[in-house]
């Protein structure tokens, strides 16, 4: 699948700025990939358009096919057809993706050459880090819907990733969720100041009555 519809670039960029936790909340606490998806280095925070790849266990051939369909601003999202921890991806593939403007890799499997990837500032969120090599013997698929770390990802979804993990936003919802995220961030600014000054959340959020109604007792 060579051509995919890509999400609104302004919304995509904005969603990256709001970060994973905010975006996840803004879309009704949905869209998160599993907690085991961790960045290979801390401090990276990206967003971009998902190019999806389904790979056989222990076989990274389709990654090479996927490179060709990537465009600047894309994020490669990879899932094996059955659970696998092998190191599908290393510094050569990263060099190739970086040359094409790809911003990050999300892979529900292993990654290697992480020291070089860190120097290159090519961020990866993966299930694990492992040098185990892969073969090039069987086909998979590029730009089909996949299940990656427990979340369905369609090609063209917005991917947002930072130190809190990875969240996917449906392409058609990107503008709406960006707006909802902004609203959330704006509202939090005021709350943060009041909490920092020592005001209690119990008062700020007016929780005392509800808690009492449910039966909370102080001793």
């Amino acid at each position: 699948m060579r051509e995919i519809a890509r999400p609104d670039p302004v919304a995509t960029e904005a969603l990256g700025g709001y970060g994973v936790a905010t975006v996840h909340e803004a879309q009704g606490r949905t869209g998160l990939l599993a907690a085991y998806m961790r960045p290979i280095y801390t401090g990276a925070a990206i967003s971009g358009c998902a190019v999806t790849v389904l790979v056989p266990p222990g076989d990274n051939w389709m990654l090479h096919v996927a490179v060709e369909v990537c465009r600047p601003g894309d994020v490669l999202v990879v899932a094996p057809s059955s659970p696998c921890s092998d190191g599908y991806f290393g510094d050569l593939l990263a060099t190739s993706l970086q040359a094409r403007g790809v911003k990050a890799l999300i892979i529900d499997a292993g990654v290697r050459d992480v020291s070089t990837l860190t120097q290159m500032k090519f961020p990866v969120w993966s299930k694990n880090i492992w040098a185990q090599g892969t073969v090039k013997a069987s086909l998979g698929a590029v730009n089909v819907p996949i299940i990656c770390a427990g979340q369905r990802i369609e090609p063209g979804d917005v991917i947002v990733a930072d130190d809190d993990g990875v969240v996917a936003v449906n392409r058609a919802e990107a503008v709406k969720i960006a707006a909802a995220s902004k609203q959330r961030v704006d509202a939090e600014e005021e709350k943060r100041k009041r909490l920092a000054s020592g005001e209690l959340g119990l008062d700020l959020y007016k929780m005392r009555e509800k808690l009492k109604a449910l039966g909370l007792e102080y001793r």
Copy 2:
């Protein structure tokens, strides 16, 4: 439970200086939380009085209740009533706790906004990092005994946490264990020097005879 007995502040402070491994040994190799409890950033080392919170799975309402009963020098210790990985805690709650002088969070569940928490220098030891949001619908309990990461924690226990993990010291034992820890640290200083100079532990600890008696053979 608003009021709890707090441990001796001098002993509490001292225990933090000795660190988790030393304190754990000094109290007879007890008190450690499970190995999966990891800090969100390296280099933090704290001690303080446990304020405990029992929370329902996926519901962080009681954290807001707990904030009110915290005092400067406390450590919030949170356990869900059944296993949960959700991100119960983020930067707003941390702002509130930091405003009240709370030193750290220990949570047998997930945490989020870890990038901001790191900038704020608010340390957290957690089961995992994950942005998954929680609701505010059901009650739990504050300052009751809880099982957190395989260890029973009572409100008022001393919590010591660093890069090696988390250990709890019974409030009534704090002064005694601080003294035993000091003794251990003093004794280790001398050993460290002798080992650094090339002396063997086999000789330093006089192990050769015991090993021979148990049947150790060299070939």
Copy 3:
């Protein structure tokens, strides 16, 4: 077992320079320890001769015995006789090993005092970090073949470890694998340049025909 045959020192040094992923590939994608073996700090990259230790669960006595047989340039490789997460190793043992010129520890169990070990620049690859103490009551064995993290290690094997994990090279193969690794690194240099300039792997590796033959379709 006091005396072991040690691998070629030049090849051992060279293998460390090539790194885990390259060495693993150069020996036909074999020799890797399990993915859960992680360094206690990033950036360490070592190679050395394996001194092996088989330890009972929760008992680190044999580590003290092993120190005596280590020589400069060795790497201590430790496996428990049944799965264990205890913190077998801390800063005192590290001080002793460092005094003898040992380069690193590989342990299929836990390690503690990681903050001090990091300051000492004594690298450790372990299953986990945990302060849990061990006893000195039962014997094990030094310099026997062991299974460490799913890989058989013989005393005298070359151990290579970096941020990608840990790989073992058979002593008798060290020179051959070092040569094969060099060849691989040299070949990759050219590829990296071409990929960085935007050339596709599909063309560089001449994959298009094979993929078509297997039935790859573009839509």
Copy 4:
């Protein structure tokens, strides 16, 4: 969502007869739920139309809502919005479902009262067995697409489950996959006889040449 389109009943029934492994292969090795989904007793083999339920962690209220929309021949498929092991389902809910003709429960969480469920012959495939109770405090959703044990399930999909696990078949594909499954079963009958008589798979499947071409050597 009260009303859903249900799959062809004849195909649904037939798919159950072919079993999980055959149906999974017949649809191109897709559709399997994760390996941790195990039956509470061996020997059950069912198929039916998926009624899906999304539940909050530790809250089984929506199961009661879902009962009402079930019809004879349905299979209830339940996934929590974040990972949970609680015992959402027991013998009272099973009594209610059995009274409505529901054939089985598939739940990516825990189940309890398994001794009674076994006596009732109400089969359940679950992540685990555990008595941990749940609350009724928050809403979820019935008959929306869910991710259950790593697989996307839409309401109306055919669910096939037996001792090998659980597979989902897209509603629109049910008739086609039933036909493909039949073809597979018919072809296997002949093979089974020839293999039972001692003929080698290498000859039966004409593999020798391909293996030789790939470089297989005998010694």
Copy 5:
């Protein structure tokens, strides 16, 4: 600790009849051991007084010490001082316990000889089944409070175990919880009949209004 206070025998017996799920609910959804504690064969259902044992990892010596303090109707509850999967217990120890009238073993570690134990009808709930042998080199403790599979157990607690897992009831609460369990069972009988006749839980439990108030919509 030779002598312990034992719970009321009538309540202990009764709690066994109500089963794990009922007792857990009757005491406010508390007291359950972790979900990984599974019986070695299905259909066993017991209750009895806890005799607790703390054992070092890989060392079963204290089990022999514990046998002496057991009385008819007791249940041996064993936890290692750090996580361990070894097979601490086999048919010889079971023969000895059965000779003393002990009803079952609960162990947060491994068990072996399960085929013989099944024939002997000596039920065991364990973390895993594994033949790995243990040594007799270090001491532990008998009849002290332990944390077993995430739950604190005191000597003299009532242990109830069946196919749903294991629950502990505080000795002093046994009579009260037995009464509460009876009430629950009685109330369920009526509900079971109404549900079996096709009445919906939504109506039986009068949930419709509350669900509507929370915002549940039907489409």
Copy 6:
């Protein structure tokens, strides 16, 4: 590798009779495969000569190659070159192996068609049960040393498997270990009788003095 040396048939048969726990103890508590290797049905107990197979992840082609080199009384032992849970093996391969007199399969991966395998009485010890299909695209190796579930297995080793798990005995040691196992079983018979009659292990094994010397106190 077509031809392998096979172990003594009388010793092989005898080891099967003694069972996994006894054989493991008789060879100094070594040789066990990991605890996650479980039988697909209870009650099977076998022994035989290991024919080993190394398979790529998700590729079962080499199993077909291995069938040809099996002889009556052999046990097929399969390990993937990196961790994999796929269902490599089903009823057709079992039919073929059973036709050649192979007694069992040991596989550090998944198995499927377990209902049929149970009816055929073809026992399998596996990491998991899962229907996930595999491809036939890449080569592996037959009758080379492998690491299976954490244990090194050489072709020609004796495999013993029952409800307690799987143990391997070195071919050259088989006669010796069979004799040592017999001695153990004979000694246990007497102990079992004395324990059944109520004699305490503390007295039977003369442990009281040693325990006292180590500091055991009764209260």
